[in-house]
């Protein structure tokens, strides 16, 4: 290489190189995030979609594409509708019970002056337990052999000493709902408290000067301003309930007689228990994913959170 062959670059290319450099810098900054997104989020989803369209058994591995066969098999399973219905029922129950309790506790803790910290800690303690550990704890508590709850209820004449809370479909459902409410109330209370504290005090002062009653203040000021927080906690609660697995896996194994079978438990069964078919499990996972996207979109729209305009 000699210097004679080198041409002096004109201005335009220099600008271009400058732009190119800027673009490169931009890419350099964006690449790590993009990589993380692609590797951790997009790739698994693409893999699951591919798996759902493949003959892919647990022990046999991937045996090539088979179109919509897995989806047809899933739709042909009589347990599918039962599990969807049960999951919805459980979701509505937990959300309807959890949300007011969380809001009530948050208001209580905010109002309480004296025992504020003690209360807060006491309510939060269950959240420190993993859901699986909490389930094992309640399994023991509910057990007619070793747990106190049966004996207590039998002593009060509310149930037969020899029957068991988890022995009937309704008992198993409510026993699980109770566990989940106990486990998550404190957590949702904390989220709601953050929302409450974000409401400026002058709004409340204005309401007081206008002579609004406490109830009126709550309904006209607190609730509207809490809307984004409530929307968030609701989405978390609904999504969490639709994906319920651990608590049922530990407490009921889907029983008695498959009456507490959630959709995610069915995915687990397809993969590891009954069908040992990863393709079917992936197909149902794809269906659940689509359902969740739809549910969340509907919720966000209904709560008006997506509207950016000031009203």
């Amino acid at each position: 290489m000699t210097s004679t062959t080198m041409t002096t670059p004109t201005k335009a290319p220099r600008r271009r190189t400058h732009a190119a450099r800027e673009a490169a810098t931009g890419w350099a900054f964006a690449t790590p995030v993009t990589l993380v997104l692609v590797l951790l989020f997009l790739a698994p989803i693409v893999l699951v979609v591919i798996m759902s369209g493949s003959k892919w058994t647990l022990l046999g591995g991937n045996q090539g594409l088979n179109g919509t066969t897995n989806f047809e098999k899933v739709f042909a399973d009589p347990m599918l509708l039962d599990s969807i219905w049960f999951t919805l029922k459980y979701t509505v129950l937990t959300t309807v019970i959890l949300m007011p309790i969380a809001l009530g506790l948050a208001l209580l803790v905010q109002e309480a002056r004296r025992w504020n910290n003690v209360l807060r800690t006491a309510i939060l303690v269950p959240s420190a337990l993993g859901i699986a550990s909490a389930s094992v704890l309640f399994y023991a508590l509910y057990s007619p052999q070793v747990g106190p709850i049966n004996k207590a209820l039998a002593g009060l004449g509310l149930m037969d000493q020899n029957s068991s809370l988890l022995g009937t479909p309704n008992g198993a459902l409510w026993a699980t709902v109770f566990l989940v409410v106990w486990r998550f109330s404190g957590f949702y209370m904390l989220l709601t408290m953050v929302g409450l504290q974000a409401i400026p005090t002058d709004v409340y002062e204005a309401a007081r000067i206008d002579g609004a009653s406490r109830w009126r203040t709550f309904t006209q000021v607190t609730l509207p301003l809490l809307k984004p927080t409530i929307a968030m906690t609701m989405i978390m609660s609904i999504t969490g309930s639709l994906l319920a697995f651990d608590q049922f896996y530990v407490l009921t194994k889907g029983g008695p007689n498959n009456s507490t079978m959630t959709v995610v438990q069915l995915i687990y069964r397809y993969a590891f228990e009954t069908k040992r078919d990863l393709g079917m499990a992936a197909a149902l996972s794809v269906l659940v994913l689509v359902a969740l996207i739809v549910v969340n979109a509907v919720q966000l729209r209904a709560m008006g959170v997506t509207d950016k305009e000031d009203k």
Binding site: G60, Q145, N162, S164, T252, R269, A271, F272, R276
Partner: protein
């Protein structure tokens, strides 16, 4: 045009038939016994490290076997214990990534499916070189496909009838006489229930554990002269007249105050052996591997007998684990050294008989228990009448949570029994019949 589509169809068919023919057994790495030729009869003991998986319920026996081998051989076996419920997932994952251990032990009811899916290496030549007539046959049969043998017995776990002699005395029963028929089982359980002691029940059943129900109720059917499955494991026969008599006995107990222990109906198997251990159950079927551990630890006397049928006789479920060499293993000769050693009478005596556990060698069963507990001899005597059911889809039909078999028992014992026949049909459909 037409010809072309016919040719295509024929090609597709022959292709799929070809695929079906080699689906399962003939996966790469499982090339029908070709390593066999170069392996000495006792395998190789050259200081290789071997890996082995087994499941938690049989941890004690597995550790005894591995420790005995490691202390007398240059090869060293590294044992990994898997939780019972995770076995299938873990084996599945390891197959996809070709990271199976050298030696894999598994629940005998899962083995036929694993063999069909090509999990094990074919060791027909090696197994044929052993004195198989002297080995418990069920665990070899479970791993036999199209005449090719893949597995040997590892731990034989049998089910027996146990009763609490102290409760029997209290109830005015002869503490030395366990039930010899299903009717006697019912009347003895009812006598204990009649004590009306807090928390004490006549019997106990794991109402939501298909595996435990198979282990405890199949022997009653076999002892009554019934076959539970047809020869090739595609047809269920759990709605026979005798089966219904057995269910009726349990139904009677379920309706009796304190007849079946609290929690029976929803027992998922996690705690099904606990109530008897705590002295709260009169009489029930029990895994013998768990009984031996109780002799010295509980504060009541335990009686042991074979599981009776409707008219008498006795049978047992030849459960437990079979073991084979995985298709991933690069150390087949060394792994075979462990397996063939374990089949020797010397090892069977040391590992099993001396620990009051059930040996898989018939001669050891016959002669190796001279100093053993009398009850171990009673349990061992039932093995000749025992069975291990073999079906590729056994797990889905019977063992899986919420299986049709489990639903059938729920209906027969705690319901009105109206669905027993139709559920039996559905089990057959699941089995592939």
């Amino acid at each position: 045009m037409k010809t072309r589509s016919i040719v295509a169809a024929v090609a597709a068919m022959s292709l799929s038939l070809g695929l079906a023919a080699c689906g399962g057994g003939d996966t790469p790495g499982n090339n029908g016994g070709s390593p066999a030729a170069s392996i000495p009869a006792d395998g190789l003991d050259d200081g290789t490290e071997l890996t082995m998986w087994t499941r938690a319920p049989l941890e004690r026996q597995a550790k005894n076997a591995v420790e005995a081998y490691n202390s007398t051989h240059k090869n060293q076996v590294k044992l990994e214990i898997l939780p019972n419920d995770d076995v299938e997932g873990k084996v599945g994952g390891a197959i996809q990534t070709d990271t199976l251990p050298d030696i894999l032990a598994g629940d005998v009811v899962r083995i036929p499916y694993w063999v069909q899916q090509g999990v094990f290496a074919d060791v027909t030549a090696q197994i044929d070189g052993l004195d198989t007539a002297n080995l418990q046959k069920g665990h070899i049969d479970a791993g036999t496909l199209d005449g090719k043998k893949h597995t040997l017995p590892f731990v034989t776990d049998i089910s027996v009838m146990v009763w609490n002699k102290d409760l029997y005395k209290e109830a005015g029963l002869d503490p030395e006489k366990g039930p010899a028929t299903v009717d006697e089982f019912l009347s003895q359980a009812k006598a204990v229930a009649g004590l009306n002691k807090s928390g004490v029940a006549g019997s106990y059943l794991a109402g939501q554990s298909g595996g435990a129900l198979v282990f405890t109720l199949f022997p009653m059917m076999w002892a009554s002269g019934e076959e539970v499955l047809n020869e090739d494991g595609t047809k269920a026969n759990v709605a026979s007249d005798n089966a219904k008599k057995i269910y009726a006995a349990y139904n009677d107990l379920a309706k009796t105050t304190n007849g079946l222990g609290a929690g029976s109906k929803e027992e998922t198997g996690a705690t099904w052996t606990a109530p008897f251990q705590e002295g709260k159950v009169g009489v029930m079927q029990y895994p013998y591997t768990a009984v031996t551990g109780l002799f010295d630890t509980v504060d009541f006397e335990i009686g042991v007998a074979g599981i009776p049928g409707v008219e008498g006789n006795q049978s047992t479920f030849l459960g437990g684990d079979a073991l084979g060499i995985s298709k991933s293993s690069k150390k087949v000769a060394q792994a075979w050294n462990f397996m063939s050693w374990l089949m020797s009478d010397e090892a069977q005596q040391k590992v099993f008989a001396d620990n009051n556990d059930t040996a898989s060698s018939l001669s050891v069963l016959e002669n190796g228990y001279a100093d053993a507990d009398e009850r171990t001899k009673i349990a061992n005597a039932t093995i000749k009448d025992g069975r291990a059911p073999v079906a590729v889809n056994f797990n889905e039909a019977f063992n899986a949570a919420g299986s049709n078999w489990q639903l059938l028992i729920q209906d027969a014992v705690w319901g009105d029994g109206s669905q027993v026949d139709s559920l039996n049909e559905q089990i057959t459909a699941t089995l592939g019949g």
